[in-house]
Amino acid sequence: MSHVDLNCRPVLASHVRLKIDPVSGDPILLFPEGVLILNSTAHDILVLCDGKVSGHEILTALSAQFEVDEPTLRSDVVECLADLLQRNLIIFKS
């Protein structure tokens, strides 16, 4: 699994578009020859990935939004970002 440093500021890679599938209503990522259907956690994380806020700040924003214990939320965010990084769908700005 790719290393996720929460000090970095994640952003969608330039070839990736986040949108809502007009047919299913699901949040999706579109990229050349591919579609990834997002679960709601991944969507909540990705809408915050603007390259300006850090992984830590995303964590803080989400803990204000959801009543989940910090370790669980942290592990969800790290896992999600690592998966997207491995698929080349996001990049980390340092």
Binding site: S2, H15, R17, P22, I28, L30, P32, E33
Partner: protein, 359 residues
């Protein structure tokens, strides 16, 4: 809605400055006028309403259309993810800027080889150097770049160097696609078919490179299906996910479908895309499993490979509903085996390639 199209391939024109001997365009071009910009815009909007997410703008060479940026803008407005599939000939800074402004999402450039002389010989044009320059311009302007390289007997041994070329051009995706033997490729198959040894070496090279490049860019390796024992799940099933609109407005379940005789195509000038997708005989002909002959009908793989490729079945057996002859259970597998033994016996000899002609 039982079936939903996810991707539309828009073949904007058959005109092309290259003459690749495996071109996916038909050998016999259909009659008719190219669709005008207004007609394409309506097609894009209708496609988006049907559920299409991806649009490939292809040809021929789509840059031969001077209204390309206008079409990209319309696709973007319809919400489609738009990929330009191009030879890059004619892709200068000004056109790139116009396409970027119109909202183009990504660009896929074809390369014929990493080696300039070989690449130009295959393309039948002085193209390689211009492609390299265009690829650099694409990255400079900040558009995502993919490469597509078609593999065959003459260039498949250069796979390491071809992959290195893609790395040097800062791509997000490299598609290494063995020739599929229809149309022009079929005419040239004795010149293009690789040997089994070449195919095995290339598969190992691609697999190692894919592992090495994971996290950098996506590497896709498309097998040459003649060397497989089971057919490819062509188009993920006929009329399941994909549709192609050709330059004269005919709507095809696969880009090669015009090669199937006795198959009538509907045209976007006369019918809506929704009608053609949902109701037409053409799109319904090979949906589901009812149409399948034996051995497909009773095969546990029938919902996995869908009986393989209809165009290949038609080409090699004369019957579009036959089991794809690539399948080891096809009664026609011997046709494919004869082609392969011909390759194994022939030293690399050349009677010359038949170059693709423009209409």
């Amino acid at each position: 809605m039982k079936y939903r199209p996810y991707a539309l391939l828009a073949e904007l024109t058959y005109k092309c400055p290259l003459h690749c001997p495996y071109c996916s365009n038909p050998v016999r071009y259909p009659q008719g006028e190219e669709l005008a910009a207004g007609e394409w815009k309506r097609v894009f909007a209708e496609a988006a309403r049907l559920g299409v997410l991806h649009l490939g703008l292809s040809g021929g060479e789509p840059l031969a259309r001077h209204d390309l940026a206008e079409l990209v803008a319309a696709a973007r407005e319809a919400g489609l993810y738009t990929n330009l599939i191009t030879s890059a000939i004619g892709l200068d800074q000004k056109r790139l800027a116009g396409l970027q402004k119109a909202g183009l999402d990504s660009i896929q450039i074809s390369f014929q080889s990493d080696e300039p002389g070989q690449a130009d010989a295959i393309a039948g044009a002085h193209a390689h150097q211009r492609k390299l320059e265009a690829a650099r311009l694409v990255r400079e302007i900040g558009l995502p770049l993919s490469l597509n390289v078609v593999l065959h007997r003459r260039n498949i041994d250069r796979l390491e160097k071809i992959i290195a070329l893609a790395e040097s051009l800062d791509v997000i995706r490299l598609e290494l696609a063995n020739v599929q033997y229809y149309g022009w490729g079929y005419l040239n198959k004795n010149e293009l078919l690789p040997t089994r040894e070449q195919v095995q070496a290339a598969a190992a090279t691609a697999s190692a490179a894919k592992a090495r490049l994971a996290g950098k860019f996506e590497l896709v390796y498309v097998l040459p299906d003649y060397y497989e024992t089971r057919p490819k799940p062509c188009m993920q099933g006929w009329g399941q996910r994909y549709l192609t609109v050709n330059p004269v407005g005919n709507v095809l379940p696969c880009p090669n479908a015009t090669s199937i005789e006795n198959l009538a195509f509907e045209n976007v000038r006369k019918q809506s895309l929704a009608y053609i997708w949902n109701e037409s005989d053409c799109f319904n002909r090979f949906r589901g499993t009812e149409w399948m002959p034996l051995p497909c009908r009773e095969c546990p793989q029938r919902e996995i490979d869908f009986g393989g490729c209809r165009c290949q079945a038609a080409l090699l057996t004369g019957e579009a509903s036959a089991t794809d002859p690539v399948c080891e259970f096809s009664p026609h597998r011997d046709v494919v085996d004869r082609f392969l033994s011909g390759v194994a016996n022939a030293a690399v000899q050349s009677n010359g390639l038949i170059a693709r002609r423009n209409p």
